[in-house]
């Protein structure tokens, strides 16, 4: 039986391919196992400690750019979260800015105005073809040459621009602000129903309503009136120049601004090309047909071109978001305290746990990227053709 069995496996194409694949996976698993084993043995032989116990130990250093409180007595684990939040902050702000700028430039590149079109062209070709690291360092160097702290540029008597960042008043929320905030969310919910109601009315009676204007008014004026009703429950703490630095208020550091500019200007160039190709991909007949129907040009864009272009734009846009997020690890070049700089750099150096820390940082980037992909894929599904059309 056994000889027959082996013959069957070796000469039957299907079972043979299963066998080969199983073997490859097996070899790969053995290889990984040996690698891990070997590394652990080497570390031990060289007397290098390993393990994750360092996460609970005091970090011993300070981080100035942070979203949650952090002192030198906090643990390395907390330093990890400080870095993670900084990475997320730059990624979210960067994607947001890059998208706006990219769509704008993409549309301008198709404009009939020769000057605008060519300015956009030069911008795209320049930024796309210069390494993003150099651009980040360039913007940061320019920011470093802003006036020194004592000669700050004062804007509207409230903002101070220096080479240590943009200092602005810090809003302090008092009792009663919760109600203002609540009214804001209620206004959003209400505007949603208003939109549905007016849309339905338009479908039934054919009359168009300025939905956007009405809803903007609801969302802006409801919380605003509550704000005054509650006796203005926000105070602003002004930054004051005292000694070496501004005290009070809040500050956006040049490291953050440099990263934001570098990443979003670079990525926007790629996004603009994606947007342009998306718009161009919509066949000319669509535009001509809608013109023949007498639609206004902004309606043609909004109702006919963009929805079809989005189907082409979204998948490459996703990979641009992923690129931007991963490129944010370049913050190390200018001292932006992201995940790689703080936890992946300073903690690594203080503890010497290179393998453990790098694994954690890599897994974190992987997770962030997968989450971005997940949401973009969901969004992509929602803009694709429905049904078998």
């Amino acid at each position: 039986m056994s000889a027959n069995f082996i013959r069957r496996i070796l000469f039957d194409e299907k079972s043979r391919s299963i066998l080969i694949q199983a073997l490859v996976i097996g070899i790969f698993a053995v290889f990984i196992y040996l690698l891990v084993q070997q590394t652990a043995a080497n570390l031990e032989r060289r007397g290098i400690s390993s393990g994750f116990d360092f996460l609970g130990m005091g970090a011993g250093y300070d981080i100035s750019i942070r979203l949650i409180p952090f002192t030198s007595e906090d643990t390395h684990l907390r330093a990890y979260f400080v870095g993670l939040l900084n990475t997320l902050m730059i990624a979210i702000c960067g994607c947001f800015l890059a998208t706006i700028l990219g769509f704008l430039v993409g549309v301008i590149r198709l404009s009939s105005n020769w000057l605008f079109r060519n300015i956009a062209y030069v911008y795209v070709e320049f930024t796309r073809n210069v390494p993003v690291l150099l651009q980040i360092v360039l913007y940061y160097s320019i920011l470093l040459h802003l006036p020194k702290i004592k000669q700050a540029i004062v804007l509207f008597d409230t903002f101070y621009l220096t080479n240590r960042g943009l200092f602005s008043p810090l809003p302090i929320f008092k009792d009663g602000f919760v109600i203002v905030l609540g009214s804001f969310f209620v206004a959003i919910v209400v505007s949603f129903f208003v939109k549905r109601y007016l849309k339905k009315k338009q479908e039934n009676f054919g009359k168009q309503y300025p939905i956007f204007l009405i809803n903007s008014a609801i969302i802006i004026f409801t919380p605003l009136s509550f704000y005054y009703l509650m006796g203005m429950p926000i105070e602003f703490e002004q930054p004051v120049l005292k000694g070496f630095n501004f005290k009070g208020g809040m500050v956006i550091r040049p490291e953050f601004i440099g990263m934001l500019l570098g990443l979003s200007i670079y990525t926007a160039a790629f996004i603009s090309e994606t947007v342009r190709s998306g718009i161009v991909s919509v066949s000319k007949g669509q535009r001509e047909a809608s013109q023949a129907l007498g639609l206004k040009s902004n309606f043609i864009m909004k109702l006919i071109i963009i929805p079809q272009a989005l189907r082409v734009i979204i998948p490459p846009l996703t990979s641009q978001y992923l690129n931007l997020t991963k490129n944010s690890s370049l913050g190390i070049a200018i001292g932006y305290a992201d995940l790689v700089h703080g936890f992946g750099g300073i903690s690594l150096n203080q503890t010497g746990r290179a393998i453990e820390i790098m694994l954690m940082v890599m897994l974190t980037y992987l997770t962030i990227s997968l989450i971005i992909s997940l949401f973009m894929n969901l969004y992509n599904k929602s803009v694709q053709f429905k049904g078998n059309a």
Partner: protein, 341 residues
């Protein structure tokens, strides 16, 4: 069938390679001799300590330790290849065997000595962390630095000392982390930070490179002990001994008044310790696995500690550092080498 066969072959090869990687370790001295040159991890550029000069030749007191080891092993101080490493990668580079010796102003601490698998073999410069500020600020003491922005190199003991010092004095600060000495200089000169803090030796070295050195003052407070010295991998004690005694030979050379100029005359000295050091009375080279001329080669090609100090960082150089703590124990410093016997 051939497919399956090749798969098996690759499996065997994979196993073979990984065992081969595991098995490759011999004595560092043999490795260095076989290679014909010493791989030395040095600073990326710190004038007076380790930096290439105008002709591209590496110079400095840290570099002299590498040269001394090369002189002891090969009889030729120039058989060194310098690998410039940042503060961040220096230990990894040494641990992984990319360099044989790390001599780049690195502080000897317990955790580095024990936890990182390193072996510090001595101290070639007793340093401490200091602060430099523009003279125009009118600051005369580090205790007046509350609220200042401080430029600091990441991945150093400096960072932790700074956090401790400001905390202990109830002061706040903004840390501006930078990667290299050059970046710190740029950020400090641009006014991104009020204060630049690192080992005092580094501050003097940086200041010497500024357009107007007199516009910057190093504050009197020294907030830490920073014994800087060469390090090797833990476990190869014979190699550690060679590096340790190469450095000691330079210090003992100064003690005994042996310089690169008089080393040949000193061979006819009456002092038995001189005779032992210079190999006239043989045997001590063999203990280290070297020839009898090893210390002669160090002293004639590199010079004694004082010569190295005066040439690279002493008062007659732009760096302008006094001997201070780094004078011999006989002259009021703490530089002290165990006896050569």
């Amino acid at each position: 069938m051939t497919k399956i066969k090749s798969l098996f072959i690759s499996l065997v090869l994979t196993l073979g390679v990984s065992t081969a990687i595991a098995g490759s370790h011999g004595s560092t001295l043999d490795l260095v001799k076989e290679r014909g040159k010493l791989m030395c991890g040095s600073n990326t550029g710190l004038a007076g300590f380790g930096a290439p000069n105008d002709a591209g030749v590496w110079e400095g007191i840290d570099v002299d330790v590498c040269r001394a080891v090369a002189a002891a092993v090969f009889g030729d101080a120039s058989k060194v290849e310098y690998v410039p490493v940042t503060t961040k990668v220096r230990f990894t580079v040494l641990q992984s065997g990319e360099v044989d010796l790390l001599s780049r102003n690195t502080t000897w601490t317990l955790s580095r000595d024990v936890d990182l698998g390193l072996e510090f073999v001595g101290v070639n410069y007793y340093d401490g962390q200091g602060f430099m500020v523009p003279a125009a600020l009118g600051v005369s003491s580090a205790t007046e630095l509350d609220g200042a922005s401080v430029c600091i190199q990441v991945g150093t003991t400096t960072e932790m000392n700074l956090a401790d010092y400001f905390k202990a004095n109830g002061m706040s600060y903004e840390s501006v982390p930078v990667e290299t000495n050059a970046e710190a200089d740029a950020a400090y000169i641009a006014g991104r930070c009020d204060v630049y803090t690192t080992d005092a030796s580094g501050l003097y070295s940086s200041r010497a490179g500024y357009a107007d050195p007199s516009a910057h003052v190093v504050l009197p407070e020294i907030i830490s002990k920073e014994p800087l010295g060469p390090a090797v991998r833990h476990g190869d004690h014979e190699w550690g001994d060679i590096v340790r005694w190469s450095l000691n030979a330079m210090i003992i050379g100064e003690e005994l008044g042996i310089t690169s100029d008089n080393v040949e005359e000193m061979k006819s000295s009456k002092n038995p310790e001189v005779l032992r050091l210079l190999g006239v009375e043989p045997g001590y080279g063999a203990y280290l696995g070297l020839d009898n001329e090893w210390a002669v080669n160090i002293l004639s090609q590199v010079g004694n500690y004082s010569e190295s100090f005066e040439k690279h960082i002493g008062p007659n150089t732009p760096i302008n550092i006094q001997r201070g703590l780094n004078a011999l124990y006989k002259d009021g410093g703490i530089l002290y080498a165990p006896p050569f016997r």
